[in-house]
Symmetry: C2
């Protein structure tokens, strides 16, 4: 490319980013910087039929991890907080649970005992609180919990803790014709209850881990009942599998925050021009948490961060890149 | 309701149906009759914000079985024709297959031997032709097959055999804001290759049976490989399960043709006002097939047909209700 042409392209790119920033900034909670500029340039070009980097609207698919990407995962993942509150609420009607050391650890808040049991311990607690219940009744329980439970540090409802910059990003991408899917290790049924109000993401765009369900006519009423055991874990190498199974196309943009999202970032970007990979790096202990190099529960970010430069993945430094983390306060 | 008011409502209903029919009939391959009128009234009212039977656009979800509902399933399901052609094509490079009596039966066209083996025999043949292959390569094989294979009776490409009345119906429902999903016992990956060109249905609205896939970086390239065995069979009680898993909302309209669709029709309509259930009844041996009371392979329609009157499900009599079956000829 001639030097003058190269300067022209750079100027064009900058002008696209600047215009979007100055005119009416769709991402006001984001500080100006390379990540914000990369996102704006990518989405504006994707939506612009005259751009060489235009993406047909059918292919404008963006996938987002949830815990640690769209809302916090500390001090424990919010779904685990739901599990513990449900165990407490239903303990009186389930006296046998008192003999279960895992349940006792959970209701007494001894998280280290639960986490020491690994995935198996978590699945046992999930079975007690997520299984043998009709899907409609489960949804009701999640809704009731959201109304009553507060986050221990921020002292506000969990469903007010979606990251403000990410909600702006979701709205912005949708305004540019993108479908915004959640692809999360969290429970699909749990997330679908609130994803629409918190993120504007409808149930059919929420993909997560799931258990078996069973259909039957019960007293003449069509009923789906959630059963114990995990049928599919939507994490790590499971994420590209889930994307293929549920969407059937490769996304052009992926957003994650941990090594659990590395495969999804690869599947979206590696060997494919005109794609976007972004990692949320938790660096802000004052406004949120700084934990990802040594997390207590989930959210380890080592391998994906190491791969980021060579893969061309952008890294959001929360401290630097976001001028606010939540919608109001803390 | 006052008699005069009741007459007024009836007149309104008829006028809606008639107006749609006369002005520019969105369903020209459908003869005037109770099924066509019921479909038109349902969709027009769903889309009309002033109607008491208005349905919010987010809930306008219609689910369609595929084999026998959107295209034929005779003399054998088309995916089985693909399996047999693939076995023939790849036999020279797989000499061991010649020792396999199932493969021999398939390539010699002895269908009764395969069908006698039931689901297990079909899965064995599916594994040979659908497994241990990258998803992209599998898609290419299906595309190549569609270009080369012809239906034995109609002597034309399989992907020209979508029912013309159903394609009109799909287009019409989408024009009224409906999302049109396929929910089929057929292979999800197989259907996604051609569903968009044949029915205007994008991959993310195609739900079917599926096998396990595995993600890995192979020679630095992100790869999904299809593995043997069926992970999920999207038939009978599996259909409501799949609808809940993939869509996360209950549909308001369901279209099927066999007892395999009964649970899906129930899940959509039973106990829920303002829903639509429709069964395609194969009655036309001249233009298509009349087989569903005693099918050779799939497509038995006994229980669902028996339930139809009490459930309020409409039954399409192909001979009566469709003035043409395919787009041109046969």
């Amino acid at each position: 490319m001639l030097p003058s042409l190269r300067i022209f392209s750079l100027a064009l790119l900058l002008s696209i980013a600047t215009r979007a920033t100055l005119a009416s900034d769709p991402l006001p909670s984001w500080n100006d910087g390379p990540v914000k500029r990369a996102i704006l340039a990518f989405a504006e070009q994707a939506a612009d039929p005259a751009s060489p980097k235009h993406i047909p609207v059918a292919d404008r698919i963006a996938v987002f991890d949830n815990d640690g990407t769209l809302w916090p995962e500390n001090p424990i993942p919010f779904q685990l907080a739901f599990v513990i509150d449900e165990l407490k609420r239903r303990l009186p009607e389930n006296p046998a649970w008192k003999e279960n050391p895992l349940v006792t650890a959970a209701v007494e808040g001894r998280m280290e005992s639960i986490l020491a049991g690994g995935t198996q311990a978590l699945i046992e607690l999930l079975d007690l609180t997520h299984a043998d219940v009709a899907t409609e009744e489960f949804d009701r329980r999640v809704r009731d919990w959201l109304k009553s439970a507060n986050h221990p540090r921020f002292d506000r409802r969990y469903d007010t803790l979606g990251y403000a910059p990410m909600r702006e990003l979701l709205d912005y991408l949708r305004s540019r014709g993108f479908k915004t899917y959640i692809v999360s290790g969290g429970g699909q049924d749990f997330m679908r209850v609130w994803a629409e109000s918190v993120y504007g993401i409808p149930p059919e765009w929420v993909i997560g881990s799931y258990a078996r369900t069973e259909y039957a006519l019960i007293d003449g009423k069509p009923t789906l009942t959630k059963r114990p055991g995990v049928e599919f874990i939507d994490d790590k190498a499971g994420k590209p599998v889930a994307i293929d199974r549920f969407i059937g196309r490769r996304p052009v943009a992926a957003f994650g925050n941990s090594d659990g999202d590395k495969a999804m970032l690869e599947w979206t970007t590696v060997g494919r021009p005109n794609t976007l990979g972004v990692i949320v790096h938790h660096t802000d202990d004052t406004r949120e948490y700084a934990y990802d190099s040594a997390p207590k529960s989930t959210g380890k970010l080592i391998e994906a961060l190491k791969d980021a430069p060579a893969r061309g993945w952008h890294v959001i430094d929360i401290k630097q890149d976001w001028n606010r983390v939540f919608r109001s306060g803390p």
